[in-house]
Point group: C2
Chain length 111, copies 2
DNA sequence: ACACCTATTGTTAGGAT
DNA sequence: AATCCTAACAATAGGTG
């Protein structure tokens, strides 16, 4: 790969395709998938894909014993995540790479 | 797609390719990626890919303020995740779809 | 379930606009 | 940075052992 800006293009293209593949896997096989991508370097950004929400899936993943609805710790993680999202809402860009399907979301969050 | 077992094959193939694509994106662009996949239905399983560890990335994602080393909440999440992994270690299959690279891991965890 | 095969379809890097 | 183009390459479903 030639230079820095070519790599940025490659990163975007491949990230989009990764999310597309994930989306296909969800639709085709009824899977639930969460993806978090941190880009490298100065332009450090966070991108995510979730079907359904990333927070719900990673929360279940971290506390792998099946999730009780009123667990304080896990609940607070969700709350905090949503609070932070709200705080930085003006920085948030919704990617909307395709017509976004039911219960599926892609995001881009500058750090 | 014809039947149930053909879909299982498709699911495995596509999941492997999704993880491969993620791995390429990490190597090529220096990105950090975490993926969590829940399969559907009776044979409900959890698969994950992380470069580096899934736990570190999703933890940073959930508490997006940069992670202080001694934050109790986040630390406990990691500990608990690792404890659970240990508890169910006899059930754990390391996928090892390719020669596993430095700081990268794929897992399959029955639920 | 797993490995190999193959025709079709999809992805990719790079160039052009 | 975004969109279109395209030759080279890779993924896919379905088939067979």
């Amino acid at each position: 790969m030639k230079n820095e800006s070519n790599m940025q293009v490659t990163f975007s293209k491949r990230r989009a395709n990764l999310f597309k593949k994930a989306s296909e896997l969800c639709t085709l096989c009824g899977a639930e998938i969460a993806i978090v991508v941190f880009s490298q370097g100065k332009a450090n950004k966070v991108y995510s894909f979730g079907h359904p929400l990333v927070e719900l899936l990673v929360d279940t993943f971290l506390g792998r014993d099946l999730p009780p609805p009123n667990d304080d710790d896990r609940h607070n993680n969700l709350i905090r995540a949503h609070r932070n999202t709200g705080q930085r809402g003006f920085n948030k860009e919704v990617m909307d790479m395709q017509e976004s399907r039911e219960g599926e979301s892609t995001r881009e969050i500058p750090t």
